[in-house]
Symmetry: C2
Subunit: 273 residues, 2 copies
Amino acid sequence: MNPFADRLRAIQAARNSLLCVGLDTDVKKLPASVRDAADPVHEFNRRIVEATADVVAAYKINLAFYEAMGDRGWPALRRTIALVPEGILVIGDAKRGDIGNTAEMYAASLRDDLKFGASTVNPYMGSDAVEPFLRDPSHGVFLLALTSNPGARDFQYLASKGVPLYEQVVRKAKRWNTRGNVGLVVGATRPAQLKRIRSIAPHLPILIPGVGAQGGDLRAAVRYGCTAQGDLALINASRAVLYASGGADFAEAAHAAARTLRDDINSFRRRAG
Amino acid sequence: MNPFADRLRAIQAARNSLLCVGLDTDVKKLPASVRDAADPVHEFNRRIVEATADVVAAYKINLAFYEAMGDRGWPALRRTIALVPEGILVIGDAKRGDIGNTAEMYAASLRDDLKFGASTVNPYMGSDAVEPFLRDPSHGVFLLALTSNPGARDFQYLASKGVPLYEQVVRKAKRWNTRGNVGLVVGATRPAQLKRIRSIAPHLPILIPGVGAQGGDLRAAVRYGCTAQGDLALINASRAVLYASGGADFAEAAHAAARTLRDDINSFRRRAG
């Protein structure tokens, strides 16, 4: 029984997509055509979700972009989550990580209140920071293993007895996966390591950011990120879809960009599978 | 020029206190006497701050407890920050950590919008996750090094070339401290490591949680956490102060608990200094 992994697999099969679109909506980058709306961010998100829902398996919502809106942020976040149709995974990309009693609060907020289907969690503080998120087997927990950004080099590659930190996280993730809901975050900018991680954790979902604006190789991300069954990789694109056009046609452009990504992913996926 | 460290030193001298009280206000633990207020959490915080302001150097506000309040959380957080009198440091304990463009958003929110004087930051994602927080030299950035919780054992002690991960963080923290605003978080439950960390980083502010409910040794925290000048350690207590009494006298009890802590800290501090 792997409630979350099984659910993700079913979603990916039903929708024929491994694509995750990141709703990292930057109020400073909104097209002129939505700026006059009563709630420009919501109007933008609404049109993006409407335009892309048919080609995605998941949306990833980055909490920083909503917190940056101040007091309006939390209601806006909640309304954005509500835009997503049934049958699509919604990931709360919050990267929280704190001691047990605090992690309880973060988990209660992201999972029970906001109703995210999965959360990203920072593993630095260890098991008691992660455990409250794991308690509901239907809620996915994507642990940061090897991230897509330049700063990943500072600590994540440090090797202890020959095993780099990111791989220590992967090993713990497997041990902590007693309820079938643990996943990993591995950047598309690290193809060799992604391949290695998939070989160590053949069955865990892997959320893979870093294609598009961050320059990761899509083919390698799909080929190395998928399981032997050709699934459980979630390829995230944010800026490449949201800002595919800065004009009034932004939603159509987002749909075209997302559809092309979905199709490219599927073409690499078939060859891989 | 160490703008943040100098400011913290001045606050600690002016207030004759190294105490930080954590406003981790749990709506489920409020005394009956405030439950009928229009805004019970705010009323509780107001009375706690009023009762303890004369004996603290800082308040640490844990964002999880406000996010768990849902849409009311962010305004409640903002109003709690506004309760703190001038001349006392207010730390946003959010432990954020994300790639550069996202870290910009988190920093903008915590520092520029909410006006926290310092933030806690998770170092796992490395330099670009930390840098946006460092940009304003007056804003303190407390990097998680060795945390007070049991899960700290999972990754933070892993040694690469004989140097444990938490010490790798301390070394990077020193390198990143080009603007004089970097600090560390080291749990009071780790006295031997705290001593070692202070020897490696003789001049950085250290935020020390884990006394009280978590069982850390106060004497060791003060003795090992202070600089040679007997300052720049910030000893945090949350539950031991907030819930010193569950009755109508909670504010008086909080004051007594905080004053005793402040005095005990100062007695250890003098002997140390």
